[in-house]
Every structure is written in C-alpha cells, then in structure tokens.
C-alpha cells in the first residue's frame, strides 16, 4: 500500500514523487541513451522515427485529448512544418532559425484554421479539418516554384552550430532531445492554468464560460499550440525521410495520428507517447511477421490499414481508456496491493448532461 502524504500544496504537482518512480525513469533514461550502441542500425532509425511521431502525437493530444476538438487533418501541420523547414534550409537559413520559423509558420496556419474552425464542433469540425488537410496537400502539389510539386523537395542536413547531425546516432539524439523538451513544456503547460482551462472547455463550455474562461480564445490557443508542436515534428520528420513529397503527408498519416491519441488514451501525454509507439511500430512489425503469414495474406494490399482497424476495434471494446488507462490500472494494482478492487475503474453512471447551453 502507498498513501499520498502531502506536506505542501505543490506536492501533488511534483512529477517524480517516489523513489520507485525516480529509479524507473532513471533506468528508462539510461536505456534510451545507450540504445544506439545496443540496437542494430535498423532499429535505431525506427526508434528515431517513433520519437518524431510521438512529438506529433503529443501535438494532437493537446487539441483532441485535452481540449476535446477532433481533427482529421493534422498531417497538414506536419506538412507545413516540413516544407517550411526544407525550403528555409534550401535558402541558407541556419538550422535553429529555420526550425523555429517552421514551427512559427505552422502555428500561424493553426491560428488561421482555428479561427473559423472553433465555430463548429464534433463531426462538422472533423469535416473542416479534413477539408483543410486535402487543401494543403493540393497546395503543396501545385505550388511548384516553392515545393517542387509532386516531385518533392530534398531536405538539407541538420547542421547545428557547425556540427552535422545527420548521422544515425546523432540524429537519434537530436530527436530524443526534441521529444524530451516537447514533453517537458507540455507537462508544464498542462499542469498550469492553460491545461486546466483546456480541460474545462472540453468537459463543459457553459461552466467554463461562467468561470471566466474565454472559451473561443482557449480553443484557438489549443489549435495554435497543437499546430506548432506538429509543425516542429514535421520539420524533424523531413530530416528523417530526407526527401519530402505531398503524398508523405496524406490522409493515412492524419488517421495514424488520431489512432495514436485514441489508443494511447485521450487526455494524457503519457498516452500520446505510448500510442505513438504502438501505432508507429505496426508497419515495422507487419514486415517482420509477413514471412509467417503465407503468400496469400502477406501479398494483400492494405495490410497496415487492416491492423490499424483491428487494434482500434480491440481497444474500443476492451480498453476504451487506451494504453494509459491500462497503465493506470497496473499502477493502482501495485499501489494498493493487496487491496486492489477491480471495480474502482468501472465506468460510472453518467448523469443527464445538458447540451442546450452550447
């Protein structure tokens, strides 16, 4: 059994409260730092890709998980970040300036989408974001003078202060540091006033407004933060793929991001990362098990989408709270051992909730 024994008002907000937690995260840090030397090259590249997808997934989590705004078009923000970064690098901008500007441009696009999009919600918002993604994909395909059209755009090496970080190991660490920084900033934002207001807007707009929260303003802010983080991820992804094309940021990528946050567990940053790892690994896993499936299945087109669908169905049926929900249950089991009660996590009755103030 473990009891929370707070001795100050900020105890509950501390990130690493118990020795066990500190040990676990230290072990994780050591593993991640040693991974490039322990794993075969192929897996180091895969892990780098997963880090970048985790950043993108965190970006969508702020919007969908915390603020409750659906988006089926987040690949567009990755595309904006990637293209802006690649173009700025080709114009000779230093790497740090280029990635900062790419993030800012993506944030600006998020603002431009957010301003009209907050007027609608639910299914209609999904349609607006979807249309936006298709629009961006076409703009990138046609605006040949800047984007190179459907032939794509080559991406320069990441050179930070004279050091070329395009090598496998150095780019791995660049992605890892980027992920850690993103997580740190988002954790802080989500435990501050902004994160609380996001959750307020998600759970009851009527109540949020009555408490002095500017609902429209916070919704737009969520769009901006989300777009900025995804643009940042897009810029890193551009280095990972080395040559970006509009098809690289299609609807499937948007759907993958939605799957990541849903399967990870809406409303949790940990979930965004776990979801990104699970969904991001699917294509690699499929190619691993293909030889075992036999020719007739292995050669089928769209095996990935089938597996995405299967995983989503399994989670919706058996663990609607996602990977994070499962994690919390396992944690509660050990925290309250031997007094764990399964029903603690039973979904409560939902009382009548009014929709008329919306």
């Amino acid at each position: 059994m473990r009891f929370d024994y707070d001795t100050s008002y900020l105890d509950a907000k501390r990130l690493l409260r118990y020795p066990a937690q500190k040990l676990a995260y230290a072990a994780l840090a050591i593993l991640l730092l040693a991974a490039p030397w322990l794993l075969p090259k192929y897996y180091v590249g895969e892990l780098t890709y997963l880090f970048i997808m985790a950043i993108a997934s965190l970006g969508l989590m702020v919007l969908s998980g915390y603020t409750g705004q659906v988006s089926l078009g987040h690949a567009a923000f990755l595309a904006v970040g990637a293209y802006a970064h690649a173009w700025l690098l080709s114009q000779g901008a230093p790497w740090l300036l280029s990635i900062a500007l790419a993030t800012a441009i993506s944030a600006l696009v998020g603002l431009l989408l957010g301003l009209p999009a907050i007027r609608v919600s639910g299914l209609y918002l999904a349609m607006v974001t979807l249309a936006f993604a298709i629009l961006i994909e076409h703009v990138l395909g046609r605006w040949k003078s800047v984007t190179g059209g459907f032939n794509g755009l080559p991406v320069g090496d990441p050179v930070i202060l004279g050091a070329n970080l395009s090598g496998l190991k150095s780019f791995y660490f660049l992605a890892l540091i980027s992920l850690v920084l993103t997580v740190a900033v988002l954790i802080n934002l989500m435990r501050g006033k902004t994160g609380r207001a996001f959750v307020g807007v998600r759970d009851s707009e009527a109540a949020a407004a009555s408490l002095g929260i500017w609902v429209a303003g916070y919704k737009v802010l969520a769009f901006v933060i989300s777009a900025a983080v995804c643009g940042f991820a897009g810029a890193l992804l551009a280095h990972h793929v080395r040559h970006i094309t509009p098809e690289g940021f299609n609807l499937l990528l948007s759907l993958e991001l939605v799957l990541m946050v849903t399967i990870g567990g809406l409303g949790s940053l940990r979930g965004a990362i776990l979801g990104a790892f699970l969904i991001g690994m699917v294509p690699a896993l499929i190619s691993q098990i293909k030889p075992l499936l036999g020719d007739r299945i292995a050669k089928q087109f769209g095996l990935e989408i089938f597996f995405f669908g299967l995983i989503l169905a399994i989670f919706v049926l058996f663990e609607p709270k996602g990977l994070n929900g499962r994690w919390l249950k396992v944690k509660a089991f050990f925290d309250t051992f031997p007094l764990y009660r399964k029903d603690v996590f039973r979904r409560g009755k939902t009382y009548m909730k009014s929709e008329r103030y919306r």
Partner: protein
C-alpha cells in the same frame, strides 16, 4: 427610465447596489420566454424565484449570465450595467452560478474543478507556465490555499482527489456550489440547488446557503421547487408563470396568493 438606470448609475449606490433587473424580455421567434420582468435584489438578501415548469426561471439566469441576449430591458449589478458584456466577463463582476443539470468538468478531480473556479485569479504568464516558473508555482499555491478554504466550508475534504465521474449525485451538487464559491462572488445564482437531493442533504444545503449569506456576505438568488427550503432560507420570493411575474413578497405571502395557487393547481385566478 430604462435608459436612465443604464447610463447613469448614481455614485452613491455604485458599490453594493445589488442586482437590478428592469423590464427584461426574451423572445425566441414567437416564443416569449420572459415578458417584462423587473425585480431588485438587495445586497445580502436571499431571493428565490419559483414557478411551474417553463415559467422562464432559468431563462432569467441565462440572461443575467449572458448565455442569451435579452430582447429588451436591462440588468445591472452593483451599479454596473451588465446587459451586453461578454459571457466570460460576467464572473469578473462578481457573479457566479450553478446549473440545473450539473455542469462539472467530469474528467477532472474535485480539486481541479475548484482550481478552475479560481481561474480568473491565476497569475500565470504563458512563458512562465512553459517553464513551471516560481511565479507560477506561487500562484498555484495561493489558489490552492483559497480552494482549501472552500473545501473546509463545504466539508469536501474526503473527496478532494476524487474524479467527478466517481462521485454520487449529492456530492456533485455540493462540488458545483463549491466551484461557484471559489470564484469569490458577491452574487450567487443557484439553479435548483436542491433537485435530486435527499431530505438530509437538503437540510445541509439550507444551512450552507444561510452561512454563505451571513458569513461570506454573498447575495443569493435561487431558482427552486422545494418550497420547504424556500420558506426556510429565502427572504423574498418571486413567482413566475409563462414568462411573467405573478407575485412577489415574503414566502408566506406568495404561497397564499390566489394567483400563485391558480398557476400551480389550475383554476380561475380572477
């Protein structure tokens, strides 16, 4: 007269003039939710609005808290005209409310719900939040101290870290009241605070409402169907029917008014 009260609040009663509702009307197309309602609530008063279903009681609250734009009339509080201010600015004028069908933030803990009640007092810059700066930590500790006072007042300590989804209905009602109190209001609008509560919880609520008025000096306006609660705590009562004021006065006066009895039971009021 309407224009006069709106544009020139007298300096003398600018502070503590209470709530003044003047010739308020609210129409949705041909439906008159409110027709020409006027009433005053003095500072420190407990004022109840009663009436049959569909009388327009909640609509009055929704106009005061700017969910709806009134078709005519004005609302002012403590000498300030609030008829056309932005919805999220209402609370900065010292007005807090609860909802008829509980509107809590269900995915958050009781503590976070109450912290959100203090949202307008949070002095946290965006950059400061990103870096979890000392100023942000101090601001949060300050808000938490205030929240703890409310938790003490309403006996919510056992539920402090519970998620709303796991709480029984009666406790949710109290959490919603606590969240409204966390905004440090001068006027509290309670929309059916006792609906769904058992007699014991209703009795607790009666004591709390009285405490809120006497100890915290907050003016209370409530919409309520439970007449025993109304007659126990309310100083004055307004009875509405079909968007119009039928009768007002002390609970006893209103309850014995033939027009009120006719509105509830049917029959000839003339």
């Amino acid at each position: 007269m309407n224009a006069g009260t709106r544009s020139t609040p007298q300096a003398g009663n600018a502070a503590g003039a209470g709530l003044q509702v003047r010739q308020l009307a609210l129409r949705f197309g041909g439906v008159h939710a409110i027709r020409d309602i006027s009433f005053d609530v003095a500072p420190g008063e407990i004022f109840a609005i009663i009436g049959p279903n569909g009388a327009g009681k909640t609509s009055v609250f929704n106009v005061i808290t700017r969910v709806f734009d009134p078709s005519a009339g004005s609302v002012s509080f403590d000498g300030v005209d609030i008829t056309r201010i932005a919805r999220h600015r209402v609370v900065t004028h010292g007005i807090a409310r609860t909802f008829q069908n509980i509107e809590l933030f269900e995915g958050a803990t009781v503590l976070d719900n109450l912290m959100l009640g203090c949202h307008r007092f949070a002095e946290e810059s965006f950059l400061g939040q990103c870096l979890w700066s000392k100023a942000v930590r101090q601001s949060q500790a300050r808000l938490r101290a205030h929240v703890e006072e409310v938790i003490d007042l309403l006996d919510l300590a056992p539920h402090r870290n519970s998620l709303i989804t796991g709480l029984p209905y009666g406790v949710r009602k109290v959490v919603e009241l606590a969240r409204a109190l966390a905004t440090k209001p001068r006027l509290l609008l309670l929309d059916e605070p006792a609906s769904g509560l058992n007699p014991e919880e209703t009795q607790d609520l009666a004591f709390w409402i009285d405490d809120i008025r006497s100890d915290l000096g907050i003016t209370v306006v409530m919409v309520e169907h439970d007449m025993s609660l109304v007659s126990e705590v309310a100083d004055r009562v307004l009875c509405m029917n079909l968007g119009e004021a039928l009768s007002s006065g002390t609970p006893r006066q209103v309850q014995s008014d033939p027009k009120v009895i006719a509105a509830y039971l049917g029959g000839d009021s003339e």
